[in-house]
């Protein structure tokens, strides 16, 4: 049961997930130039991690891609398969954003409900996702009855239910304790196969565990470092010596701001 449903998340629209291409993107808040002529590509079907100090613009970048931020923006953001961005991204925030009045199951199905597309199949899919994630008994519970880690798990499942080709994550696990964080990292890595993921994190270890490609974003206006491609495939073991040494390098880049 578990094996077959693990691939459920990887099917459908994600089989040909596009790249996200940013060309000469400039953006500023009043008085602050966040990006100037930024060029960046989020590689298709891969998990890209963006790591950097707070306030440098990582979340802003995610919002520009998701489409929720449109003012004061120049340049071009598009997907490599030529289709519009609209309705093709899924969003996962640091807060679980579960609606307290909906059951866990209804929260997982939130997207369909809001688009008026609820169906029996959708419900069944949500139920199997919950089971995959070990939350099968909690379908009818209210979010207030779950722990923080469980709620973020539900948020992850809600994100995956969307079956969107591009998944944007804004420090989704930073509010959790270390152990829960590791478990959720494993779960997301296993369920997200095939999608193009852009994840913002401030934790170098997390980036190294999950990312196919890692960029460090520093300075104002923000600049991106050269890409770092760790060996092996995610989720990687935290104790792996290669990972440990890369962690030191990442930290160095973060602090120094230069390319060692």
């Amino acid at each position: 049961m578990n094996n077959s449903t693990k691939t459920v998340a990887g099917q459908g629209k994600r089989s040909s997930a596009p790249s996200v291409i940013l060309e000469n993107v400039s953006f500023s808040y009043p008085g602050e130039q966040i990006f100037r002529d930024l060029n960046f590509t989020v590689k298709c079907g891969q998990w890209t991690c963006l790591i950097g100090p707070s306030g440098c613009g990582k979340s802003t970048l995610l919002r520009l891609i998701s489409g929720t931020l449109r003012e004061n923006f120049s340049g071009k953001i598009h997907f490599s398969d030529g289709n519009s961005q609209n309705g093709r991204t899924a969003w996962m925030a640091q807060k679980d954003l579960l609606l307290p009045w909906l059951s866990v199951l209804d929260n997982v199905c939130l997207g369909s409900r809001l688009r008026g597309e609820m169906s029996h199949e959708k419900r069944q899919k949500a139920i199997s996702l919950l089971e995959d994630a070990g939350l099968g008994e909690y379908g009818d519970s209210l979010p207030s009855e779950l722990s923080g880690g469980m709620r973020q798990r539900v948020a992850l499942l809600r994100t995956l239910m969307e079956e969107r080709p591009v998944i944007l994550m804004d420090e989704p696990f930073s509010a959790l304790d270390a152990l829960t964080r590791l478990k959720l990292q494993d779960l997301s890595a296993s369920l997200v196969e095939g999608a193009t993921v852009l994840m913002v994190t401030h934790d170098p270890l997390e980036a190294l565990r999950l990312g196919h490609r890692i960029y460090v974003m520093t300075h104002r206006p923000a600049t991106l470092s050269k890409v770092l491609i760790p060996p092996g495939s995610p989720p990687r073991e935290p104790g792996d010596p290669a990972i440990v040494s890369l962690q030191a390098r990442l930290l160095h880049r973060l602090v120094g701001g230069g390319n060692p």
Binding site: P100, W101, G116, L168
Partner: protein, 248 residues
């Protein structure tokens, strides 16, 4: 047990009342003692019940209509910014004008029957409900709205599935306040021109210097107000089921 606590409070208040009467030797035509009031209540139990039912009806009708108007107004103000600009001052004025001043006007428009009393109650209820609900609707968690946008939610779905439920706790507080003051509207309306109801009965007893009967009507009104408040409270707890009550 809540009932036992209520009984204790009631008995306590009655004891304090009796003590005040005994200590200050206040004459019964100014402040009758609880025993006199109880006697008057029993003697006039029939009319008291009938008048209480009239006032009860006025309050409940006022609550229902006032809440309906209030929620519709709040929703319209969220939906249309220009409507909000016109409606908000009217809202504030409705609250600022003393109800007593408007009562004769309402009697003129609605007649001497129950409708003018219900209209009074509606006026008193309208502002707390509208203001609270509007506030709740306005302060929906922006990140939820952002998530809905990324999900391509239909605008009506956002209002129905996100804005309204998230505003319900605020609405419930507004409604609780309105419920506490609704009896005032009904009673003041009765003072100005009615032949039925506890407000009318109190005036009538007062004119005949039957102060103990007047107090009996007052006590009945108090009990009625409490009963309505607790009922509305219970209903709100069911409606806002996801809010955890503080454990005792």
């Amino acid at each position: 047990m809540r009932i036992i606590r209520l009984i204790f409070i009631a008995v306590g208040l009655v004891l304090v009342w009796q003590t005040i009467v005994l200590l200050t030797h206040v004459p019964p035509y100014i402040l009758p003692g609880p025993l006199n009031v109880a006697k008057a209540a029993l003697t006039h139990a029939g009319p008291l019940f009938d008048h209480a039912m009239t006032t009860l009806f006025e309050i409940i009708a006022g609550l229902l209509i006032g809440t309906l108007l209030g929620t519709l107004s709040a929703l319209s103000m969220i939906a249309s910014f220009s409507l909000k600009r016109w409606l908000l001052p009217v809202l504030v004025i409705s609250q600022a004008i003393p109800v007593f001043a408007l009562a004769p006007l309402l009697v003129l428009w609605f007649g001497y029957g129950m409708s003018s009393k219900i209209a009074m109650a509606v006026l008193i209820i309208f502002f707390p409900v509208t203001a609270a609900f509007y506030d709740g609707l306005r302060s929906t968690e922006p990140e939820w709205l952002e998530l809905a946008q990324v999900m391509n939610a239909k605008p009506l779905s956002v209002i129905r599935h996100i804005r309204i439920p998230s505003a319900l706790p605020a609405f419930a507080s507004g409604l609780r306040v309105a419920t506490a003051v609704a009896p005032i509207g009904a009673v003041v309306g009765e003072w100005v021109g009615s032949s039925k109801g506890l407000g009318f009965y109190m005036l009538h007893a007062n004119a005949r210097m039957q102060i103990d009967t007047m107090f009996a009507a007052l006590v009945v009104l108090g009990v009625l107000a409490l009963a309505i408040y607790f009922s509305v409270d219970r209903i709100m707890i069911k409606i806002v089921y996801w809010q955890k009550e503080e454990t005792e």
